[in-house]
């Protein structure tokens, strides 16, 4: 089992519903977020292009955050989901520095927090909150080992990329381009 997410940059309008849906679902404190939206504009008027990406923890295969965690609070769960166990986390912030995606933040309660792929929802057979809320249905989630999962199906037929592949982390959030 290998959980992954694919996000269609051609459909995303950058509304940030994924951000609010995550905040309310996971009670992320005001002023922080586990996911965010990046908008990149290229060209000069009127020859322009925009790419919009909803970004979050990439739940990497080879996660520097897990490797550098001194207490083992950062760890892999079944399906490759990278999690932090709050009561094992000492808030040293090594993982925050090591993450090439800047996906982690120091929670005011003293531990490091980030996207969990909504593991509490997945266990109930639900999609992550961001995926289920997205008005444009631009996000796909599932098990890459299952060829019929929504994420496997879409990656079969669309061109895609990952972010900062040169970091060698094996990111598992794919962007359809």
């Amino acid at each position: 089992m290998r959980y992954a997410m694919a996000i269609d940059t051609k459909k995303c309008v950058g509304c940030s519903d994924c951000v609010v849906a995550c905040q309310t679902e996971n009670n992320v404190p005001i002023g922080y977020c586990r996911d965010w939206v990046v908008e990149v504009t290229d060209g000069t008027y009127p020859q322009l292009e925009i790419e919009i990406r909803s970004e979050r923890c990439n739940h990497c295969d080879n996660s520097p955050c897990v490797r550098c965690c001194p207490t083992g609070a950062s760890h892999y769960e079944d399906g490759g989901i990278v999690l932090v166990t709050p009561n094992e986390c000492i808030g040293c912030g090594a993982c925050i520095t090591s993450c090439p995606y800047d996906a982690r933040y120091p929670h005011p309660d003293g531990y490091v927090d980030k996207c969990t792929f909504c593991i509490h929802r997945i266990k109930k057979g639900l999609e992550p909150a961001c995926v289920s809320a997205c008005p444009t249905k631009c996000m796909y989630f599932g098990d890459l080992d299952d060829p019929n999962s929504p994420v496997s199906e879409i990656l079969k037929v669309r061109k895609y990329k990952t972010l900062i592949p040169e970091a060698g982390t094996g990111p598992q959030v794919y962007y359809l381009i």
């Binding site: 519903d17 609010v20 309310t24 008027y45 322009l48 593991i119 266990k123 809320a133």
Partner: protein, 746 residues
């Protein structure tokens, strides 16, 4: 002169033990201390239905509570055609409105203390008695017609009932003359029917979506954005006409970076090409339309080359994009837009768009415009309304005869006494609309307010308008109240229920309760003869084959269509509600009123040297100014920016991110500085900003002073002579690097 009525900052709210719960967003904090990581959130599965009130799209959803029984999240209802189970960021951020600690918390009455006007906290009893007495006195002296209702939102129906029972028909929503009015009139003139809300656009199945300045995706009209995404999936093409490279433009096959204020020239050139190349739907035009020959003659000189000189758009691009539409026809939508009060000839521009739809045969066709249907919910039985002796219309003899709804700006103007205005208003009830930002030309709005003997403001938040009220009535949020049944039109008729997910926080009340209590005090109790809101809603629901119990369980009920098909049938004979019974390419109604029966391009004023056209729009995370203080949404966007083309910024030495002030052609400078966003996405002749920022009331603690207000810079208003729309895009701004002297000194 504002001598009589001073602006009062609402202060000391909730003091005196009135606050029931002041937890604010602490709920989020408390929950965060027991983090869900790895462990399961203990989910309270009890949920209550609602429909959203953060914008007018009114998506139906479910309110979930946490284990402490506090409101946790709002999720779309899968059965709902408005949302398809998916809310937009504003709807998802609904709890932020409920938990906002800056909410209005108790009734307030204007009073004078030691020569200074202040609000004093009042009981509901006292506040309602005060209003009833004042309003009765005004009616005795001037007639009941001199009370007007200005409203936006669901509670308006109850106050509408009250006002009609009282004997006034002057009920206005700024969403007409300040927003979609010209479009509605234009479609009535053309097809005999309006576009309505949600718009009857069949975007889901379209092959070509044409957006004229409409920025779907940035305006989060949820169902439409969803359908645009579906259409992209199915390979539809998008054509966007906008001086700004909008998000929609970035999804488009053709982006037409038009010179602002020249849209009608482009539209007429498209009509010219489609007629002259014979790309129009001949059968449809022959069978259903009136005035084709006149139209053909009318557009003969309006070639793409003619339009090029006006719009700066290459003739080849105009032809190619016309061909793209024709290839898709009839599954093509020239989108009517929504906020269409731009330059003063807006009904005519909307007409040109309607005519294009008619030529391409998209009205009544799959992938074009569908026939919507709704459930008609009967009103609770009440005596007939008295016939008012006068209405707002009497203030405008022989004007705006084609306006189907009341003009909010018309009521505002008619409140200022002049010899020519026959109906002066003496009292306003303002429900859920911040007129200070909604109606352009704030000075004039304030002048009208000074003339009032009574202004009652009903709101959830201390918006600027509350500071000018005589009485402020705090409404509970949509998450804490029952409301009218949502019975809007859609592909299938459907109803949705809003019920309270929690008891009202603070000393707040729902609109229906306020209206009924006022009615009792005005001797109009028989117009509100139900005992409880549940009794009334249950009765209403039973009339249409449901019940309150059922709706509390399911939230949304969808019915089968009854009276016709979603689209015209092949060769179906149709009679349209126009003078000729046909789709009018040549409008007989406009001709009869002395207006151009077919649209013409008129040149609009251009920015003087050193000035740029002020263009404004929406952000997906905010609705007007009403969400600026919502903690969840403020996190997404806490201030607006002034979009400036890099060439222009270079000339002025403005750097990206730098704070500047905008000053308009009348010397009005923004109250607050605005951050420059130097971007290639805007034309060199325009400045763009998102509407709804620059709040001046300090009691909006998160929104105060964040960004600049476009409304205060819109001092030049062009009135649409056909229906009285207040056009707002004829204003020009320049850049300043410091505040006005008096502001700097204070």
């Amino acid at each position: 002169m504002r001598s009589r009525r001073d602006f009062i900052r609402i202060s000391g709210l909730g003091a005196g033990g009135l606050a029931i719960s002041a937890s604010g967003l602490g709920v989020y904090k408390n929950l965060a201390s027991s983090p869900p990581q790895g462990s399961e959130l203990s989910v309270d599965t009890t949920r209550t239905p609602t429909y959203c009130e953060i914008c007018f799209w009114k998506c139906a959803g479910w309110v979930y509570k946490n284990e402490e029984g506090k409101i946790w999240k709002v999720i779309g209802n899968d059965e709902d055609q408005h949302s398809n189970g998916r809310f937009c960021p504003r709807g998802t951020g609904g709890p932020g409105m409920y938990y906002d600690e800056d909410r209005l918390k108790t009734p307030l009455i204007r009073t004078e203390e030691r020569g200074k006007q202040v609000f004093r906290e009042a009981s509901w009893e006292e506040a309602l008695d005060y209003i009833a007495e004042k309003i009765k006195g005004i009616a005795e002296e001037h007639g009941p017609e001199c009370t007007a209702l200005l409203t936006h939102g669901s509670g308006g129906k109850y106050f509408g009932n009250l006002l009609k029972a009282f004997g006034s028909a002057s009920i206005a929503a700024p969403s007409y003359a300040q927003c979609r009015g010209p479009r509605e009139v234009a479609y009535h003139m053309t097809f005999g029917e309006g576009v309505g809300s949600p718009e009857r656009t069949d975007i889901r199945d379209t092959k070509c979506l044409v957006l004229i300045g409409s920025h779907l995706g940035e305006n989060m009209h949820n169902g439409q954005v969803q359908e645009m995404s579906d259409a992209i999936d199915k390979g539809a093409s998008i054509i966007t006409v906008d001086p700004r490279y909008s998000i929609a433009a970035s999804k488009s096959k053709y982006w037409l970076p038009i010179k602002p204020a020249t849209d009608i020239a482009l539209l007429m050139a498209w009509i010219h090409v489609i007629i002259n190349e014979e790309w129009y739907d001949k059968e449809y035009v022959e069978k259903y339309t009136y005035g084709f020959d006149q139209l053909k003659a009318h557009v003969q000189h309006m070639t793409p080359e003619w339009a090029y000189g006006i719009t700066t758009l290459e003739p080849d691009l105009i032809r190619k994009s016309a061909k793209e539409m024709a290839n898709a026809a009839p599954a093509v939508i020239i989108h009517p837009g929504r906020h269409v009060v731009w330059y003063g000839d807006d009904t005519q521009r909307s007409r040109a768009m309607a005519i294009l739809n008619a030529l391409l045969g998209s009205w009544g066709r799959r992938g074009g415009f569908y026939n919507p249907e709704k459930v008609s919910i009967p009103s609770w039985p009440h005596p007939p309304y008295p016939v008012p002796g006068r209405t707002w219309k009497d203030a405008y003899p022989d004007q705006y005869n084609l306006a189907y709804e009341t003009l909010a700006s018309g009521i505002c103007d008619a409140t200022i006494p002049t010899l020519s205005k026959a109906c002066n208003f003496k009292a306003w009830i303002v429900n859920g609309t911040n007129l200070i930002k909604t109606i352009p030309d704030t000075e004039k709005t304030l002048q009208a307010i000074q003339e009032l003997e009574l202004m009652v403001v009903i709101d959830t938040m201390p918006m600027a308008i509350t500071g000018w009220a005589d009485v402020v009535l705090p409404e509970c949020t949509y998450l804490e109240r029952y409301d009218t049944i949502r019975d809007s039109t859609h592909r299938k008729p459907a109803i949705a229920l809003r019920m309270p997910a929690a008891e009202p926080m603070y000393n707040t009340k729902p609109a229906y309760w306020m209206a009924k209590e006022l009615a009792n005090r005005l001797g109009l109790g028989e117009y509100f003869s139900w005992n409880t809101i549940e009794e009334m809603l249950d009765w209403q629901l039973k009339q249409v084959g449901s019940s309150l119990e059922e709706m509390q369980r399911i939230g949304v009920k969808t019915f089968d269509r009854t009276y016709d098909d979603l689209y015209f049938q092949k060769d179906q004979d149709m009679e349209f509600y126009t003078n000729t019974g046909k789709i009018e390419l040549y409008s007989t109604a406009l001709a009869a009123e002395g207006f151009d029966p077919m649209p013409k391009y008129t040149a609009h004023e251009e920015p003087p040297p050193g000035f740029y056209r002020l263009n404004y729009g929406r952000a997906p995370s905010h609705t007007f100014g009403r969400t600026a203080n919502n903690a969840l949404l403020k996190d997404l966007m806490e201030e607006n920016t002034a979009w400036i083309n890099p060439k222009v910024a270079g000339e002025w030495g403005i750097e990206n991110g730098q704070y500047i002030w905008l000053e308009n052609q009348d010397g009005i400078r923004s109250s607050f500085p605005i951050r420059a966003r130097v971007t290639e996405r805007i034309r060199w002749d325009s400045v763009y900003m998102v509407h709804g920022f620059g709040h001046t009331n300090k009691k909006l603690s998160r929104a105060y002073g964040k960004g600049a207000s476009d409304s205060e810079l819109i001092t030049k208003v062009h009135l649409d002579p056909i229906m009285g729309g207040t056009a707002m895009r004829g204003n020009f701004v320049t850049f300043k690097f410091e505040p006005k002297e008096e502001e700097a000194a204070s």
